[in-house]
Amino acid sequence: GIQVEQSPPDLILQEGANSTLRCNFSDSVNNLQWFHQNPWGQLINLFYIPSGTKQNGRLSATTVATERYSLLYISSSQTTDSGVYFCAVMDDNYGQNFVFGPGTRLSVLP
């Protein structure tokens, strides 16, 4: 099945800093989503982005499907950005479920 990797596994930032999180996947996809899992465990939808670029406030994401990666940019980070960021993909080859990466754990320090 499709493999999903995320980097870095852990990231510590000072408030106000910018960061880039990466998601690599091993096969073509028809769905890619970025989630933020907050300290209470809730998976919050950030972007539905099987291809192209989207922006939402301080966050933006780019998926280059032909090169099998996606990037999540966080600018001017805030302590509330802390948590785990997951990339989830659906395989274009008869995939019927979302495969999650291992996540990037982000800690933003005041």
Binding site: Q33, M90, Q96, F98, P102, G103
Partner: protein, 115 residues
């Protein structure tokens, strides 16, 4: 409701007991997914429903796990003879349609603890 709702939020049960976990998807969403998340891990797929039928149950770990969605809306995940290793957060998600799926939305999860 406005989002995916899961009940209960927390469930503590004794080893060997039977439990049911409920998921209310977003109204009109035909695709429904169950995932399990252990501490420090990403969610792992259990089962996918398209309408009333289980289109893919390849993620169910063994025959103690079963799920239903009799009317194509609410789904129940059933675990028989629970074991301590079943302790995890069980997540449910729904999407307007199945593959190629549109954006999926997750509930807040049910934290199951088997003692």
């Amino acid at each position: 409701g406005a989002g995916v709702s899961q009940t209960p939020s927390n469930k503590v049960t004794e080893k060997g007991k039977y439990v049911e976990l409920r998921c209310d998807p977003i109204s009109g969403h035909t695709a429904l997914y169950w995932y399990r998340q252990s501490l420090g891990q990403g969610p792992e797929f259990l089962i996918y429903f398209q309408g009333t039928g289980a289109a893919d149950d390849s993620g169910l770990p063994n025959d103690r796990f079963f799920a239903v969605r009799p009317e194509g809306s609410v789904s129940t995940l059933k675990i028989q003879r629970t074991e301590r290793g079943d302790s995890a957060v069980y997540l449910c998600a729904s999407s307007p349609r199945g593959p190629p799926a549109l954006e999926a939305f997750f509930g807040q999860g049910t934290r199951l603890t088997v003692v």
